[in-house]
Symmetry: C2
Subunit: 514 residues, 2 copies
């Protein structure tokens, strides 16, 4: 028998049974990452990627399908070929516009306690956005619907570690496609008082978001322009294309002063070269082109540099997430974003189809890549499953636990006379134990991270408690959080004004599509 | 619908079905970590811990229950109080002996292809050692037994990513306690030709290991002393005590020139202060005391600095593993080990009672702490469950996958003209895809990490395949590896000599205990 096990056995005999009531979680807090990021690539290698991407933009350029964007690009000095909608950019053009983007900004929530800072050392965890399906252990996987979407936002609101609603966790496919964004915005504003993300697909969806955000905050659009409140993701249609809906969304956000995370969808081997270095060159070119475009629409508008490079399984064509390649790409993307002094967006991703060990270890590989890459905004930080097609209620809890652990990890270790506790060690002496010392008693309540999901009981107690897996425990946790959810207060006048806006817009959109 | 999901959906439609035959895994390889480790603490903070631990050794000292050790310590200049077996160390005494330990050494396997380097940039993954129970999905948890132990070693042999047997994965409690180490050594030598670890509890167990290792290698003990072949862990009985069996084991290993990982069992809040800084001070004091003692036995003998600091759940007294505190302690321990230029040992740990998401995320937090802490030897790298009480067959596969991913992560990203692939991007152009380009075709077979356990199929294909979780897939994998296991060849004369040695020793030990 090894000594390590012997010591553990001795300790386990001392284990007491203390049931925990309710759901234990950390309080809401803004997070700062003071650790130096991992420098995966040398400064020369980062420079090489930078210069290759500028060359790509100069020689090949982007296909910009959105006419207004081409007009703005041409006015700013880009070379625009209307015959094939191709736009080519001189390196100085890109560099001068990219330099206008701010390094840090604040996003205001309708509850000021939930305002978040973007950039610098700040880290924001946003819930997943975009999935078409919902799933949980009880009801399995099902098409996205309004009820599930609302319940998901309620649980997101209850999870203190999540800073931001992520742009509709579950698409309400039971509602009309043309107006369901209004139902989502109305729900996001009502069901949480954290910041929320809007939809970039089409200018009118962005306009509705900004109008509704203004109503919810009791502010004018001019006030919002000076102090942003919502955020969205614009994906280039990789390789090297900006399509019309995304071009419209980008333009509307930029003109309204709202930040966009410019995120090329560069899956190595499919939409980008089969090498991660090649995918990064392409990612960087596309991100810089979109960042510059936003600055042409509105100089100084806040943006984020989005890194989403991953790879496909070359045997099947399936996208892979949370791979070693993904981790390396995230670290390198952070280096690139810092080169441009632009806040960095990355993601917590997995290709797993269920909430299992794969979902956890692929998520862990992603999270470490983002955090040690100096991320500022983690999109899909909680809930994403199945390559983003599904929002899982249990995955939301699993991720919230992993995020809590990361947040605690980012809390620097204190090293001083008091924490080194020489006197306590002297007092206990060889062979003693520290349970009852004054040094312990003064600190034990807040000494260590206390988990929400992890079960640290010994085997016998765990078995007596039903031998539940982490995923089964996550199921109980989200249901308890949903059951005890209370909707944050809202001024009735604001609620009425939002309802009136939604009703008016549904009527208008219905008339247009009729 | 978000653009990110739209792109994924487009890609998933292209997914082909390619079944993979057999178990796909990476080949055996030595690993180097060329990334700079995370400097969690400042140089001043590391110095503060160093000086506090030396002060602790000088003022409080260690209780050394093993008489020979006290004799050696006294001869070397330590202050020994025989009335209470307390040993106090002048700082210069510790520093001068610690300085004798080598920064790097090689461990030889009976198959030279499986030799491993310890220290510097080298990283070794050792299977779990010490568990009293075995478990798998089919048969549940059961007391350790010889058959399970042998099967576990067979799977460890088959998993190429694991470099080293870890000192008996499952204790054969169905065999007599006094002689079961012989059965384990005999099995470890026969069933794998990788390096293996021996038992430190009691000098005779170490002597038997060295004799049997010498027979297995066809070498003399003098040859082994010059070129080590086995390794063990010595735990101090924290706080500040070295007990007799561990003292004997340490002495026997040191005199035989075999390396020991000196590993204080400093669980913050129980055997060490409730602060991680305090636990690190105590860990450092105990580790340095044991490292110095080994050098007093045999100057220049290889050793490792073991960091095992974790914490207990202060509500229940349960030990916790893979916590944020564990990760921080691992990173700081690596900084301490590098201060002394001694190879660093850490571990892949979890408190989970089953192979679930918790096992995966606690393992992930541990692994990142070890790797970015600059670890040289990861003990329990694969298989440990339930705070080390159980070796799980499915956990072994889960960990092997996570280790493979880490190994791939440590493979630096290549950035040059060729990998940046500008020509390929130019060739494909806006809106195209890269599946069929020459750049892709020339590289696709080895472009990306190919998983052993992860399932990247889309939901429908995964469901058609039985909707198996990662843990269920791990179950199928270890059974397949065990089924297709082939015992490595051994000279029949050596096998006979080993059998004769075991028989003789069992007879001798039986006579002594009769």
């Amino acid at each position: 028998m090894s000594g390590e096990r012997g010591a553990r056995e001795a300790l386990r005999r001392k284990e007491r049974r203390v049931p925990v009531k309710g759901i234990r979680q950390l309080p809401f807090a803004r997070i700062e990452n003071r650790y130096p990021p991992i420098q995966l690539l040398s400064a020369d290698e980062i420079d090489a990627i930078h210069h290759a991407s500028l060359r790509l933009l100069q020689e090949v350029g982007m296909e910009v399908l959105h006419e207004e964007s081409r007009r703005v690009l041409k006015a700013a000095g880009a070379e625009v070929d209307e015959t094939n909608q191709r736009v080519r950019y001189a390196p100085e053009l890109i560099e001068s516009f990219v330099a206008m983007a701010p390094a840090e900004f604040t996003l205001e929530a309708r509850n000021p306690a939930h305002n978040v800072k973007v950039g610098g050392p700040h880290v924001i965890f946003a819930a997943t956005g975009g999935p078409a399906f919902a799933s949980d252990l009880d009801r399995g996987r099902r098409a996205g619907n309004y009820q599930d979407m609302c319940d998901y936002i309620r649980v997101v609101h209850r999870l203190n570690v999540i800073h931001q609603e992520g742009g509709c966790p579950i698409e309400p496919t039971d509602l009309p496609a043309e107006t369901r964004h209004l139902d989502f915005y109305r729900a996001a504003i009502a069901l949480t008082d954290k910041t929320w993300q809007c939809w970039a697909l089409g200018g009118y969806r962005v306009e509705d978001a900004i109008e509704m955000a203004a109503i919810s905050m009791g502010k004018t659009r001019a006030q919002l322009k000076a102090s942003p409140v919502t955020l969205t993701v614009v994906n280039s249609n990789s390789p090297l294309r900006l399509d019309i809906p995304m071009g419209e969304g980008l333009a509307a956000m930029a003109k309204a002063g709202q930040p966009v995370a410019m995120t090329p969808f560069t899956l190595a081997g499919a939409m980008s070269p089969v090498t991660i270095a090649g995918a990064l060159v392409q990612q960087n070119a596309e991100a810089l082109a979109l960042i510059a475009l936003a600055q042409m629409h509105n100089p100084g508008v806040p943006v984020l540099y989005g890194g989403f490079t991953s790879n496909v399984d070359m045997r099947t064509g399936s996208p892979a997430f949370g791979t070693p390649e993904y981790t390396k790409a995230a670290l390198a993307s952070g280096q690139l974003a810092r080169r441009y002094k632009i806040p960095f967006r990355s993601s917590n991703v997995t290709a797993s189809n269920c909430v299992d060990v794969q979902a956890a270890y692929e998520g862990g590989m992603s999270l470490w890549g983002t955090i040690m890459g100096g991320v500022n905004l983690i999109e899909h930080a909680a809930g994403w499953l199945e390559g983003g097609l599904t929002a899982s209620f249990e995955k939301l809890i699993l991720d919230a636990e992993m995020l809590q652990m990361m947040r605690e990890f980012l809390n620097p270790l204190q090293v001083d006379e008091d924490s080194m506790g020489l006197e306590a060690i002297r007092e206990v002496g060889p062979g003693g134990h520290f349970f009852g010392t004054g040094h312990t008693l003064a600190r034990f309540e807040r000494a260590f991270y206390e988990p929400m999901l992890s079960d640290w009981r010994n085997f016998e107690n765990w078995q007596d408690g039903g031998a539940k897996t982490g995923t089964e425990r996550a199921n109980a946790i989200w249901k308890e959080l949903l059951k005890s959810y209370e909707q944050p207060a809202m001024d009735p006048g604001i609620a009425e004004a939002l309802d009136a806006y939604v009703a008016k817009r549904k009527e208008e959109i219905g008339r247009q599509s009729a």
